[in-house]
Assembly symmetry: C2
Homo-oligomer: 463 residues x 2
């Protein structure tokens, strides 16, 4: 009710010609939600994807199985076009050896819960040994400088639990994982260990990508669980600790993966593309149920739900399941490059990559010059989402669709409740049994609803 | 941002003198959230409550342990007053025998997952046997009338999965559980079995209260799991099925339970009481983690969080943990009666009884003549909750505080995300490991925030 008043006010104040949403729209969106909750296939598809192709990191056998499976699922929905778009990726393998152990001054050894960070080099059959130095930031590494020579640097700044949005907490801590190895290598450190990226205090290590700076030596990097990080930090207050570290991780060969793409051509404005998707790859340790099987399935079930209502798209609806988000973004980059070569115009692109939890908001992003008008325009639709307690926000969208910003597209992120995401993110526990069926289905319904509005009304903010 | 504009509009339109929320308020509410997430004790208290006093249904030994434990917790927070308020309850025990089995026309027997409904009588050592008749509503029982004599009536109308708010789906199906036995008894049925109240299709039976109408014979009533209900319904399409049913359930003796009450006297307006709480009892099969340990702990941690900021209440803050909500509402009724006798005035009462999931909204209720003004008044606070994605809604509050409506109090429900509640509600699976720590803590922070605003500004809507 309040939001409806507000919409009228925006219309009145800004003199835009807006198409007010009708009762028909409310009814249709309700129908999409009902269908998703009663007859949607999201959970079943996600279950099969996780079963057939867990740990589908770029270059792995599992990544090919995932591409084939999702291709079959999309084909079953009878698109006008369906194809695989190749992109060059690099494989990476952790192998079977992952050891981090502490040795105190009495020679007591204690093994920590650990895993290699994605892209890390290993120790080539050796055990690396060095004195542990705890730091809380990249800057602190710079302050310590050459005193870090031959040391093993322990990055231990926690995600800030007081931040309600856990993605903000992640964003403010993850620089240690991404850049820690090269920063420490700059001063001659032998290796780094990094506190896992989660608010939970437990024994589960979290992997995730690291980036080596080309001009610096590559050193091994491993995550340790938050509980181990807390205990190690305690020990370091009283004594020197030596770290032994071994890892069989190694970069693999160059590889080819595929963006999986299916398209339903628009009857009225076929040249206006509405893209929606997630990324098909997932870290090797879990099944990629939340990250980002859920996002892929949101998109696939969204089109399924729409088609099941005999909906005839005016514009071109295109599902894109991006390759290699976790480990290089080759899928998103390649897709945008090829799209630009084809002189395509994406009206809008929607990505779901925050898990399969209950949907909370749609985030909107675009080129700065366009965004205000876009926000004014889409805000007229907000009352339609009130029943579903969904908010609209001006914020980033998704890593894979971000390169489309240069087309002037409206970029949209489907954001789900963030409280539990980092309990599972990049761990062995990212499994289907940690996804709730109704929550997943509601995400698909949300995506279907915004696709429907974009397709029906377009984005003619300048009329 | 939008909500802020809206607030100004309400102020302008309605000419009310409203106290606009200040940046100080935003800061203090942020502080409450930070503290809850970093140092709150909610999870630890709930864990201990569930461990010490699972299945704390009225009249049970566990219910007394729960009262004592929560009393100690409240005492540790140094209230000005803390006491136990007696109320007359009735105990009920399911005992060890719970059998529902189907027998098909070939004599094949199949045992279903079952539990007695709360308050149901048992079969006194006998096995009851009768032909199964499936119905979808109480009305259908009336249509079938005397043909139900000696039958076992099977209520099988599912909760509607297409309703986004699962509480609405529960509300539209639970009449079968509450009134089914007496309705069927009216026409001579021997017993009833009722499809469990959940959207999940699984093998977990859900208990919950039934009410016998005094003028009708009492017959046994048992819940069966949704999966069993689906399968039984399939069988009944093709053949007659006999049900065998046995239960050792029996009403126990009259008993005494206690509302657990602690109070921090207001320095400025001690006669204006702000109550907040949940219900301390829980069905016997689980640990009552979500229902309603979470609600009790929300209230206790809310006062803890406030006190930890050295907050000095202007008004009287009173935690009330109500006895016997599940099985007769004696706690809520007794509390309101005694409060009325003492000529107390509750400015507001807040109840949390929808679980320990992530907070989504505050619902507001009061006497019809007062509610519009109350809503206008509290809506000025809505912008303060925008960061936390919390909505305000005009809707019912909670069963225990509802009797305070006659005092003209503002009644408030803390409503959390409803998607998973009925996965656990009234089952053996209502356990601490199904509660997420951060989600629980956010609920406590939400409650603390609204208490703070009510305490600081009061509710002088008529100024």
């Amino acid at each position: 009710m309040m939001k409806k008043i507000l919409t009228s006010i925006f219309i009145a104040f800004h003199g835009l010609v807006l198409i007010a949403q009708s009762d028909d729209d409310a009814l249709f969106i309700k129908q999409l939600h009902s269908y998703a909750l009663k007859e949607g296939k999201a959970y079943q598809w996600l279950d099969t994807l996780c079963l057939k192709a867990p740990g589908r990191i770029a270059g792995s056998k599992s990544s090919s199985i995932a591409e084939q499976y999702m291709l079959e699922v999309l084909q079953s929905l009878k698109p006008d076009t369906v194809f695989l778009e190749p992109c060059e990726t690099k494989s990476w393998m952790r192998g079977s050896i992952e050891i981090v152990e502490t040795i105190d001054q009495h020679g007591n050894r204690h093994e920590l819960h650990t895993c290699a960070l994605g892209n890390s080099i290993g120790t080539e059959g050796e055990m690396i040994s060095g004195e542990c130095v705890e730091v809380l930031s990249l800057d602190q590494v710079d302050s310590l400088g050459n005193s870090l020579k031959d040391k093993i640097v322990f990055f231990n700044r926690p995600m800030d639990p007081s931040l309600v949005n856990t993605f903000h907490a992640y964003g403010s801590a993850v620089d240690q994982r991404v850049w820690g190895a090269s920063r420490a290598a700059k001063y001659g450190a032998k290796a780094v260990i990094v506190r896992s990226m989660t608010n939970k205090i437990d024994t589960v290590p979290h992997t995730g990508t690291l980036v080596y700076i080309d001009s610096l030596p590559k050193i091994p990097a491993m995550a340790i669980s938050t509980l181990d990080a807390e205990k190690l930090s305690e020990k370091l207050k009283n004594e020197n600790i030596t770290i032994n570290l071994a890892s069989s991780a190694q970069p693999g060969a160059a590889s080819v993966n595929y963006n999986v793409i299916a398209e339903w051509r628009g009857k009225q404005f076929p040249e206006e593309i509405i893209l929606f998707g997630g990324h098909i790859d997932a870290w090797d340790m879990g099944a990629g149920a939340h990250d980002d099987g859920a996002g892929c399935i949101h998109a696939v079930d969204a089109i399924n739900i729409l088609l099941a209502q005999n909906y005839l798209p005016k514009r071109t609806l295109r599902v894109v399941l991006f390759a290699n988000e976790e480990n290089g973004l080759a899928g998103g980059k390649t897709y945008a490059e090829n799209s630009n070569k084809r002189n395509e115009k994406h009206l809008a692109a929607i990505e779901s990559d925050t898990g399969g939890f209950v949907p909370r908001e749609l985030s909107f992003d675009s080129e700065t010059s366009l965004l205000i008008d876009y926000m004014r325009y889409v805000n007229q639709w907000l009352p339609l989402f009130e029943t579903y307690d969904l908010n609209f926000k001006q914020a980033g969208s998704g890593a894979d669709i971000n390169p489309l910003k240069s087309q002037g597209s409206l970029l949209i992120g489907l954001r789900v409740d963030p409280q539990k995401y980092f309990d599972f993110h990049h761990t062995k526990n990212d499994q289907i049994y940690n996804v709730n069926q109704r929550e997943l289905e509601l995400g698909a319904a949300t995506m279907a609803s915004i696709i429907y509005l974009l397709d029906k009304y377009g984005l003619e903010t300048k009329n």
